[in-house]
Amino acid sequence: MKTAVMKAQDVCKSFANNGGQNHVLDMVNLEIYDGDFTVIMGSSGAGKSTLLYALSGMDKPTSGSVCYKEREISHLKEQKMAQLRAKEFGFVFQQAHLVSNLTLFENVAVTGYLTKTRTQKEVRSRAQELLSQMHVEKAADRLPSQVSGGEAQRAAIARAMMNEPGMLFADEPTGALNKRNTQEVLDLLTKINEDGQNILMVTHDIKAAIRATRLLYLEDGRVVDEMSLPAYEKEEARRREKQVEAWLSSMEW
């Protein structure tokens, strides 16, 4: 029996649009389980990213509630929310979104400095270790403008991992990368999930989706179906791809 680390209940999100309301999320109910690599898929405009940001507290839902480890987080005050983001959540965006005037190493370390759960020495050593794990240690002293998109994105994953988050949110993390970099980033995400990291990722890329252990399909702001997969193995990739494709076809994707 898997434990749910995150629960969404009746989550709605609407935006004002030309005097009317655009309902992007419509009574979403779901649970994210411990140890899973959960992927949310859906057609364009289905509300994937909106759901991700509502779950991660980046954005407040219009109604409904989001609980993380039994704690309601959708209406936390700024200070508490900031603490939660720093200590419990990690984010990887479509763009690397590294702070432009900090080196890759500093981008990673600054997250560790913020929480003050480690000494400065420990933070620096962990940042170095993470950058090595992500194979960007050689670019550690470079600014984001001086590295490739892949290197920047890998540094962004290292940054997200800095404080050993309870949940890593990834929004189309390979959307802006070339084939080779995409592969590298996905391998890293798969590896950290195998090491126990919970991941919730939004993607429209099947090659990324097959890394999941659980797939959710979103349509018109609702989760309409889901699919479970065994842990990813490289040799099984082709078969998984076909399986996911078939599932998506059944969703008229």
Partner: protein, 784 residues
């Protein structure tokens, strides 16, 4: 129409900059026009009133009326003289207002309505002139409104005059106030009052019958008018009178109309100069802010401008729109500022009437104001035009590719990020990465600190009680002094002072009038010439030496080492100028000599004041009280005080308050304009920081610290600039009132003061301006 549409859109999207620049220009316009109008109106009005009330090109104050017709004849015989008019007066050296004795000056009494000497009488609340002035009844007098600020006098109060040997004082009631263009200011020791002719006659009779005329005497003013055909300068004319007539032998003092104007308007002129420098500083700050705003707006609108170029707009079109936009902001500030300046002038004139003694017109001089604003507008237009040159570099293709986003490159100047003080380290990194964006903040801080530091230096130089300023006006340094005719009493007072205070030094001093190189002016005589404030050469150690001020040196065309003739009461002797000294008395129009040197003119023993320098100058009050208690009316006490000092100190306080308020407003606008552009550029980074768990409070503090750090650098620079330029700048301003050397110094704490104020304001305002960070959500990073 194409311009109008874009202009409207630009103003709408950059309304913050537009309002900010308009506000700065509004403040500059109000300050500039108010200062210029007061300065011009005061000078014109004073000149007009002197003429209207009968003052000549030269006026001599003559003690007594004997031989006056002879003297008048001598003067009128000169071809350069048009006419001479005699105005009768009574001079009083001891008088009391509501029982309070005047400390520094004399009183001159004129008869009300003596033909052409037709004075303006103020209305009840001192806001205007009565159309038909009523002659004071017997026992009533009109006085200058300066009596209000000096003695807190009101209509109905009493003025008492002491006549030597008389037990009872002559007492008069103040009927109202009149405008005295020659001595009405609170800054001059001499004061005039207007009296009924019957009272004048009665008073003259009492003086005639008095045992001595030491405290009250008949006198007259000779108003000498230069003929239109005369080609002599005023100085040459004055020298000619001294040379060809006996006027210097009879006159207690002689002044040209310009000199009287100078005395009357000394405060307005100094403060006008000071405020004009401040306005120039503010204008430079506004240019810095406009410059930064233009650069940021070009960066911000890079894509739009590229697109406009792609659809056919030329570089000149885009530049024109930018220039129009900023010039419009400047004009929007200037127009209401011009109107408000009229109200401000009226208010200032009303508030200062008891100090200036004049009801200075508030009407703006349209030509002067238009010229001043025109010059500023042209200057700003050229500046804006130069700053918009960057528009030429915009190409449609570059704009379409994403504009001119900042790309950071590794800089040698970088700092490490530490866990402790993370916010500060991040602020420093941001600062070093985007130096250019904060240069304007640094420059604004430097200019403001420069000016505040300049005023602090002036404040320190003046001292909290104005002692510094008094020292400049005093020929010699002293804490307390007294004078009396009775030698026995003199010895007694000396002994009493010695018993009750630690005396560091004492010497004898007196002031006379003499002629140096044909130029008649006051001479300061001291038995200890080492106490003269020598600024060049050395003091007049030997009996054949004199010291002159820079002004007198210029007038007589002599320098240190030159030989000059000095004459006093018909005796002419040769002296060597041993040095240049500073004494702003009579606006620097004086010279100095040692007691030994003076004895070459007056070998008979004469009465000198005894001046004391105390070990502890805080004892002055106590000693003065003691002397007043014991020898009241028997000695003349000199506490090194000046009736106008309080007016100067309050004006300085008011100006400082004004300066701090304006400084705060300028910092607020500069920070808001610079800060909003920086925030706009860093929106993405702020979103990232928030997604990492930084709170808005931390980010705001980091943002505010950047401005504060730049302000600290700017403050240091401002202090250096102030150290380098204050003395020469202030000396240039004070030269007109006879101060030829201004030397200031600040303690490290005083230096810190202006820096702390400015940096603190930057920190607070930047923190407030960064309030927008609260609204930045990490969701801006979402790409749907």
């Amino acid at each position: 129409m194409k311009y109008f549409t874009l202009l409207k859109a630009n103003i709408k999207s950059q309304k913050g900059s537009f309002i900010g620049i308009s506000l700065l220009m509004f403040i500059i316009t109000v300050s500039l026009l108010a200062v210029l109008t007061i300065w011009k109106n005061a000078n014109d009005y004073e000149e007009e009133q002197l003429l209207r009330t009968g003052y000549g090109d030269i006026t001599s104050w003559i003690g007594g009326k004997d031989n006056i017709e002879d003297l008048r004849g001598q003067i009128e015989a000169l071809s350069d003289v048009w006419k001479v008019e005699v105005q009768d007066a009574i001079i009083i050296s001891r008088y009391y207002v509501n029982g309070q004795e005047n400390v520094t000056g004399t009183l001159q009494i004129f008869a009300f309505g003596q033909g052409r000497y037709d004075y303006h009488i103020f209305n009840e609340n001192l806001t205007g002139i009565e159309e038909s002035a009523e002659e004071p009844s017997e026992g009533e007098v009109y006085v200058s409104p300066a009596f209000c600020s000096l003695y807190d006098a009101q209509a109905g109060d009493e003025i008492a005059i002491q006549i030597e040997g008389e037990k009872d004082r002559a007492v008069y009631t103040i009927k109202g106030f009149f405008e005295d263009p020659a001595a009405g200011t609170a800054l001059m020791g001499i004061k005039s009052i207007l009296m009924n002719t019957v009272d004048i006659e009665k008073l003259s009779k009492r003086i005639e019958e008095a045992e001595s005329q030491a405290q009250a005497a008949e006198s007259c003013l000779l108003h000498i008018f230069q003929s239109e055909q005369s080609s002599l300068s005023m100085l040459e004319f004055q020298n000619l009178l001294g040379e060809k007539t006996q006027v210097n032998d009879y006159a207690s003092f002689t002044y040209s109309a310009q000199a009287i104007e100078g005395f009357m308007l000394i405060l307005q002129n100094i403060f006008a100069g000071f405020l004009l420098v401040f306005v120039v500083v503010l204008l430079v700050i506004t240019m810095v802010v406009i410059g930064h705003s233009i650069s940021s707006c070009i960066e911000q609108d890079y894509v739009n401008m590229g697109i406009l170029k792609a659809v056919g707009f030329t570089r000149a079109d885009l530049k024109r729109i930018q220039i129009l936009q900023y010039v419009l902001a400047v004009l929007v500030g200037m127009v209401p500022g011009s109107f408000l300046s009229g109200i401000v002038v009226r208010l200032i004139n009303r508030l200062t009437v008891t100090t200036t003694g004049l009801i200075i017109p508030a009407d703006g001089n349209l030509a002067m104001c238009m010229a001043a604003l025109g010059v500023i507008l042209c200057l700003l237009t050229v500046f804006i035009s130069l700053k918009t040159a960057g528009i030429g570099k915009i190409t449609p293709i570059r704009a379409i590719r994403g504009g001119a986003d900042d790309v950071y490159f590794s800089s040698r100047l970088t700092t490490r990020i530490y866990q402790r003080g993370l916010v500060l380290h991040l602020a420093l990194r941001q600062l070093l990465s985007g130096k250019k964006q904060y240069v304007s903040a640094c420059m604004v801080a430097a200019l403001l600190v420069f000016f505040i530091s300049l005023s602090v230096r002036i404040g320190v130089w003046m001292g909290p009680d104005g002692k510094g300023l008094m020292n400049v006006f005093s020929p010699v340094r002293f804490d307390i002094g007294f004078g009396c005719e009775d030698k026995e009493l003199e010895r007694e007072v000396d002994a009493l002072i010695a018993q009750n205070a630690q005396v560091a030094a004492w010497y004898e001093f007196k002031m006379e009038r003499a002629v140096i190189g044909n130029y008649e002016c006051p001479v300061n005589i001291a038995s200890a010439p080492e106490y003269f404030n020598v600024i060049k050469g050395r003091t007049c150690k030997y009996e054949n030496e004199v010291l002159v001020t820079e002004l007198v040196a210029d007038v007589i065309g002599a320098q240190t080492g030159d030989t000059v003739w000095v004459s006093y009461k018909g005796k002419e002797l040769e002296f060597i100028i041993s040095g240049i000294y500073q004494c702003a008395n009579d606006m620097g129009d004086n010279f100095a000599i040692s007691k030994e040197g003076w004895e070459r003119f007056e070998s008979e023993p004469v009465s000198f004041y005894h001046y004391y320098i105390l070990e502890d100058s805080s004892e002055v009050g106590e000693i003065a009280e003691l002397l007043n208690e014991k020898y009241k009316d028997r000695i003349d006490l000199d506490e090194n005080e000046w009736s106008g000092l309080e007016a100067i100190l309050s004006a300085m306080t008011a100006i400082e308050a004004f300066m701090y308020v304006i400084t705060a407003v300028f910092i607020l606008v500069a920070v808001y304009l610079t800060g909003s552009k920086v925030l706009y550029k860093e929106k993405r980074d702020l979103g990232i920081y928030k997604s990492l768990g930084f709170t808005a409070g931390k980010l705001r503090m980091s943002f505010a610290l950047r401005f504060c750090m730049m302000a600290v650098i700017g403050s240091a620079l401002g202090n250096v600039l102030s150290g380098l330029f204050t003395d020469s700048l202030v000396t240039a301003m004070l030269t007109m009132c006879g101060v030829s050397r201004f030397e200031s110094s600040l303690s490290p704490l005083q230096m810190l003061f202006s820096g702390v104020i400015v940096s603190g304001l930057f920190l607070v305002f930047a923190y407030l301006a960064a309030g927008k960070i609260k609204k930045v959500e990490p969701s801006i990073l979402i790409v749907e």
